[in-house]
Amino acid sequence: MTTHRVEAPAGVQGGVSRRDDVRSLRIPILAMVLLAVVAPFVIYPVFLMKMLCFALFACAFNLLIGYVGLLSFGHALFFGAAGYLAGHAAKVWGLPFELAVLTGTATAALLGLVVGGLAIRSQGIYFSMITLALAQMFFFYCLRAQFTGGEDGIQAIPRGKLLGLVSLDNNLTMYFVVLAIFLFGFFFILRVIHSPFGQVMKAVRENEPRAVSLGYKADHYKLITFVLSAGLSGLAGGTKSIVFQLASLTDVHWGTSGEVILMVLLGGLGTVFGPIVGAVVIICVESYLAGLGGWVTVVQGALFVVCVLAFRRGIIGELSRVLHRPL
């Protein structure tokens, strides 16, 4: 049984204690939060919300690939499923915003338990193919199912009121709610990867047989991380469908799974800020090229090729290597 190692992020190893590790991230985190608070007054908030949703999705995905070394090719399943459930809950059941998003998140986590339980029985490439196949199965289910609206998707999902008090129809209000959700997810992930649990996750990534021989149940760690990653992806997907008032087949399609992989790869596998930077860059590139139609796919594909051949550390990975500090 061999485990293949995904290239470790530069600078994460070394003699730095965990506490210093988190402390050294203080300044970049502060800068990120400040930027996010100022941004909606300069840039169109809806565009920023799209970035935040995908950034959270990418962070959740990175938890799995970057810290346990499992490449899921089916994460659109959780993102899209949560989108449908949150949309359905808000529109048909009339649940308020926070409960609708929670419904989506819980569904995604539950699906993560099922898919993860099946997929972690195999390793490496098999794992990727199985997640891809199961996500494709779910895509066909969504295409046929009644409540998803098939090709039309669920449209005109009401944004509703936060805690029944604050109307979310205003984009700026909505933005700060989405920012709060994003930051919750971000800090949650940060806490997980710097916890003892996170250390075991990394041990499983680096050398699974050795982790097992030390008495850690690698499969349990993998499954828990998978469920966490799926749930957080669901949080992102559910929020997105309510912000944009639309849940559609695009979100469960393998194209979306590929997109989130590209974001994390471009930003830097296994880095804290990489997925966020990757998501911002990809969303910008996509909206910049939107007028060119089919060329978006070609550019995405070319970015994949370039990243894999010449730029495997990603933007933040390279940056952290130059600065000699984990980012």
Partner: protein, 295 residues
């Protein structure tokens, strides 16, 4: 009219034939994937895109050089095979020794590029491609009508699968190939040019996909996205069969095509998902696949 479980026998046999046709393509594609995986240790995600490219080359040959089906059957795999060797030499070679996941990501990117470019120039509606004159028409077997072209496709793919199996298991070249799969360093030490063997193998696997593409052209039309969804089903087929054996991928390919066809008769709602459901069940019972060695 004769019926089986309340289904007219004609409908049953015609879906069985559709299943066999689909199974032929599953088998040819998963066979190529298996050979490539054996030697390069990567899953070739752009296999579906290259299958499409085969069909597209056939269409271009007809359109611009007035070369019909029969020359295309030879030229398209050759062109795509050479293109594949170029990919292997310039890109995949540089990923040796890295995590195989990078190979998956690279070929996924290539698939996006190839399909994206094809879609920009040819649109998504697809172009029709005529069945060659010699194979038009069909014969009445008494219980069903069998179009000649479909019989030809099944026949060719059975022969090709058999041939590939023979080459891999019974010839010297195949012995080198299997030996290099087991231990490339040792085989190299015996004076066999392993990098060249890898390039040729990749080219052959890809040419097989292109050949399947040419054969599929008259059945499904030439469409830039014809390989995109197919490849995911083929992945599921590969998972079910297990990566260990060539025979496994052939048998599973045909079997799943037939099962899919039968599902269309008895429970049409599940016809798209049945392969994935079977995959899930197989994973629960035998994680390494039906014919695979333990992972």
């Amino acid at each position: 009219m004769t019926t089986v479980f309340g289904v007219p026998i004609q409908a049953l046999f015609s879906q069985l034939l559709v299943g066999l046709i689909n199974g032929s393509f599953y088998a040819l594609l998963s066979l190529g994937l298996a050979i490539i995986f054996g030697l390069l240790n990567i899953i070739n995600f752009c296999h579906g895109a290259l299958y499409m490219l085969g069909a597209l080359v056939a269409w271009l040959l007809l359109r611009f050089f007035d070369l019909g089906y029969w020359p295309a059957l030879l030229i398209a795999p050759l062109v795509v095979g050479l293109f594949g060797m170029l990919i292997e030499r310039t890109m995949l070679k540089r990923l040796q020794g890295l995590d195989p996941l990078f190979g998956l990501l690279l070929t996924f990117g290539l698939a996006l590029v190839i399909q994206g470019v094809a879609r920009n120039y040819f649109g998504v509606s697809g172009e029709p491609y005529d069945v060659p004159e010699q194979l038009t028409g069909g014969r009445n077997l008494g219980f069903m009508f069998l179009p000649n072209y479909r019989a030809w496709v099944v026949l060719v793919s059975v022969v090709l699968c058999g041939l590939t199996w023979f080459v891999a298991e019974r010839t010297r070249m195949g012995a080198y190939l299997r030996a290099a799969t087991e231990n490339p360093v040792l085989v190299q030490a015996f004076g066999i040019n392993v990098p060249r063997l890898i390039t040729i193998t990749y080219g052959l696997g890809v040419a097989l996909a292109a050949l399947a593409g040419v054969m599929a052209a008259p059945i499904y039309r030439v469409n830039p996205l014809m390989g995109a969804d197919l490849i995911i089903v083929v992945f599921a087929v590969v998972v079910i069969g297990g990566m260990g054996s060539i025979l496994g991928s052939i048998v599973t390919g045909f079997a799943l095509g037939v099962i899919e066809g039968l599902t269309k008769v008895f429970y049409p709602e599940a016809s798209n998902t049945v392969v994935f459901v079977i995959m899930a069940i197989v994973l629960l019972v035998k994680p390494a696949g039906l014919f695979g060695r333990t992972a």
